[in-house]
């Protein structure tokens, strides 16, 4: 088992403490393509942030490849985020004053890869995602779909074992959404990367092989979806 969660709790402290995750138990195998589905505010992002070691949890255990992820130092967390995990966000989170290729290079910079080598690699990944001609463009000169593909290239460039995507199609139109989901599916099949997609859209969830429903801070139904027929709206479209 690559990812294991046992009884994970998370409360946001504040004037009114908010108990968001109330005992999550979950296992994900290496090479799976799963989605986490739930209503807005159900704690999906919270869970994904814990999986990505962007946030801490209060209780329970989170284990990657048999190693307990708890109480890591900032440096250790940075190491995991840099090498083990790739992140894709709804709002892309590209650095606005860096060009596409510079954005894609950045994770390699934090690995200490030489300037020339990381430029070569970044160009290679942009080429694979059909963005070679856009390498020198800034994010605000690109469409949403292009920006998300740059973000995917940035997530892929370090060969992470796990890719976490938080509403990756949330800011995209239907057609582009389908393209992005197909791209993620292809990566999962061809490279064997574990991909976890958070979404509240059933069409998006339907593109994945397993759908984990989250409700009121605990895991509800888990649907096997290898035939991709869970969507009421057909198998090849994502309704917006």
């Amino acid at each position: 088992m690559q990812i294991e969660l046992h009884n994970v709790h998370k409360t946001y402290e504040g004037a009114q403490p908010l108990h968001v995750l109330k005992g999550i138990d979950l296992s994900i195998e290496k090479g799976e393509f799963v989605s986490i589905m739930g209503a807005s505010g159900s704690g999906k992002s919270t869970l994904l942030n814990i999986l990505g070691i962007l946030d801490s949890y209060d209780e329970g255990e989170y284990i990657i490849d048999g190693r307990l992820i708890k109480g890591l130092s900032e440096r250790q967390a940075a190491g995991y985020r840099n090498r083990t995990i790739g992140f894709i966000f709804q709002s892309f989170n590209l650095i606005s004053f860096k060009t596409a290729v510079e954005n894609v290079e950045l994770p390699l910079f934090y690995q200490g890869v030489s300037r020339r080598r990381r430029h070569e690699l970044a160009m290679e990944y942009l080429d694979r995602l059909g963005l070679k001609d856009w390498a020198g463009h800034y994010p605000n000169e690109m469409s949403g779909g292009q920006k998300q593909r740059v973000a995917i290239a940035r997530a892929l460039i370090t060969h992470p074992q796990i890719i976490l995507a938080d509403e990756p199609t949330g800011a995209l139109d239907s057609k582009t959404s389908v393209e992005v989901m197909e791209l993620l599916g292809q990566l999962n099949r061809e490279e064997g990367v574990t991909i976890i997609v958070v979404t509240h859209e059933s069409g998006v969830a339907n593109c994945t092989n397993r759908i984990i429903h989250i409700k009121d801070g605990i895991i509800g139904e888990i649907e096997e979806n290898s035939r991709h027929n869970a969507s009421a709206f057909g198998t090849t479209t994502i309704m917006k």
Partner: protein, 423 residues
């Protein structure tokens, strides 16, 4: 390194105006430090001018008046030194420290005649051979007065080179005057040497053997003051102890209380120099402190814009951390930017400061004031050396680091989830 500077340049370029305004404050601070230190150096130079005409390890002692009754004698009695005091100083225990003992006596208001040339208002200065060393006299021709001149009361004379030049009608072949006869008032002297005259001063003193003028003017054994050189008194305490002992001995010889402080006076050039150095150090430190406070304004400014920068870039730092930036690599960005801004504008300030010192040297540094017939320069060499430039550079780098520290910490503490939430 290269990558770091690319990042710094990108950030600075996005905030040109803001950076320049703050940078100006830093430049101003360093400019002030350099100009203040330069002016301070010039001032100390002005205090010290003429100071190096004398050897520093010398003292002068003279008679005052008693401040208390002693051995039945009333207070307020005048003490006059005489030749026996000079002998006392050549004996134990003072001879251990004292090298050369001299005194001098001047008679002024004479005319100097050589052939058909007259010079008015010169003075005859009777002295001893030791005078030459004590006053760092440089001979341009011939020799200074020697022991034999003193013993034989020879009528020989040493002229300053400016006087000699006058006698030669502008000529500088001083050798020609050696062995010539000159008249001072009614007295005839033979020229034995030409010495370099003191800078910035009228050259009116003509040196002759003390014994000679004593005879000519029928002086008694009394003398005004005694000047001597010494060795082996390295500290202020040692000097004070020595002065006390010497005064006690001379007081006793004149029937004054040994501890009567006003019966004799001592002027110690060595301790005066020590105090001068101390004063100069204090001035130097004070100027640094004033300068550093001026610079502080600039540093606070840089720290502030770095804080604003961090705030504006929170989202970006969140992204960087999400893709694996360690806290230190974020801190480095901010500290490097802070040091770059501080050092860059600091250097501009330093160069302008040095330029200002240069201008000060060329203007104020060349002007002088007449005081008691001596021209005194207001500032002597008001510039700063390489050492100050290096110190200022260090200050800039430290200041830049300090200015960047708090903002950098803040940047490193950015939590990715908070920075990335709700876009």
């Amino acid at each position: 390194m290269n990558d770091l500077f690319t990042e710094v340049w990108e950030s600075v370029r996005r905030n040109k105006l803001r950076t320049c305004l703050t940078g100006f404050a830093v430049a101003w601070g360093i400019f002030m430090i350099i100009v203040l230190l330069g002016a301070g150096n010039g001032l100390m130079g002005a205090f010290n001018q003429g100071g190096n005409e004398f050897v520093s390890n010398s003292m002068m002692i003279g008679g005052g008046s008693t401040s208390k009754p002693y051995k039945g004698l009333k207070e307020g009695r005048r003490i006059r030194l005489d030749m026996s005091d000079m002998d006392l100083m050549k004996q134990e225990p003072f001879s251990e420290n004292i090298d050369q003992v001299t005194t001098s006596h001047s008679q002024s208001g004479y005319a100097l005649t050589y052939g058909k040339t007259h010079l008015n208002n010169v003075s005859l200065n009777g002295t001893f051979p030791g005078y030459a060393d004590m006053n760092r006299i440089v001979m341009l021709a011939g020799r200074f007065i020697n022991e034999k001149d003193i013993q034989d009361k020879r009528k020989v004379i040493v002229l300053g080179h400016l006087t000699a030049k006058n006698l030669l009608k502008g000529g500088t072949d001083y050798e020609r005057l050696l062995g010539e006869q000159v008249k001072v008032g009614p007295f005839v002297f033979r020229v034995i040497g030409i010495r370099k005259a003191e800078e910035n001063r009228d050259d009116r003193d003509l040196n002759v053997p003390y014994s000679t003028i004593k005879t000519i003017f029928g002086l008694d054994n009394h003398i005004d003051d005694i000047t001597f050189t010494f060795h082996g008194l390295p500290t202020e305490e040692a000097n004070d102890a020595f002065e006390k002992e010497l005064k006690a001995a001379i007081n006793t010889a004149h029937d004054a209380a040994p501890d009567d402080a006003s019966a004799t006076w001592v002027w110690n050039r060595f301790t005066q120099n020590l105090q001068m150095e101390k004063g100069s150090k204090i001035l130097h430190t004070a100027l640094w402190i004033i300068g550093l406070f001026t610079l502080l304004g600039g540093i606070v400014g840089v720290s502030n814009i770095m804080l604003i920068t961090v705030k504006e870039r929170t989202h970006e730092f969140g992204i960087r951390k999400a893709i694996g930036a360690k806290p230190w690599s974020i801190m480095k960005l901010i500290v490097a930017e802070s040091v770059t801004i501080t050092a860059f504008f600091g250097y501009i300030g330093m160069v302008l400061g040095m330029l200002a010192c240069f201008l000060m040297d060329k203007t104020l540094g060349q002007s002088s004031m007449e005081v008691f017939g001596e021209s005194i320069r207001l500032l002597v060499n008001p510039t700063v050396g390489m050492d100050v430039a290096i110190e200022a550079t260090l200050v800039l780098i430290i200041a830049g680091t300090l200015a960047g520290m708090a903002p950098a910490r803040k940047a490193a503490k950015v939590r990715p989830i908070e920075a990335l939430r709700d876009e």
